[in-house]
Symmetry: C2
Subunit: 78 residues, 2 copies
DNA sequence: CGTGTAAGGAATTCTGACACG
DNA sequence: CGTGTAAGGAATTCTGACACG
């Protein structure tokens, strides 16, 4: 039953921003586009996992390569 | 050069409190006693690693077993 | 000694919107 | 479309102190 560390949602957006080099705006936008799914604290603060950070960096790379968020969403279940 | 995830200081005290079941007061006290060494954000907010969380739980267990923080500090370099 | 708490301030995050295009 | 920004409020964290003992 213990969840692997990579999937534990414990990191706040400020740290994610530092680790990825992306703006909080970008990170929140990817969530808006249904590409990342952070948890929320009782107060509504977003919590990400290390896996989410990987995903976010991947999203940004693909956007840089010309993809659109809608296409990335389609690619999800593959 | 990449640091292992277990040592990345990215978790704030609120989450550490949830994961360990300890109060923030207790967690801060262990730092005061030089038993844990979180990083700090520019604004002074504490950031812990998964390894720190292990350490904190271990400290609390030992305190429960009758040890004192001073003794735990001595045990550190062994 | 190790921990609880009330106190006031500061850092961090949140949302919705306007902007560009 | 994807991202920047200013705006105001809310959640979270910080420190130093008093308390018990």
């Amino acid at each position: 039953m213990p969840m692997s560390m990579t999937k534990k949602k414990v990191i706040q957006i400020g740290v994610v921003s530092e680790l990825t080099g992306l703006s909080e705006r970008q990170i929140r936008y990817y969530e808006d586009r249904k590409l990342v799914f952070p948890d929320r604290s009782k107060g509504g603060v977003r919590k990400y996992s290390f896996e989410d950070i990987q995903t976010i960096m991947d999203i940004h790379t693909k956007l840089t390569n010309g993809y659109h968020t809608v296409e990335l969403k389609r690619m999800l279940g593959c």
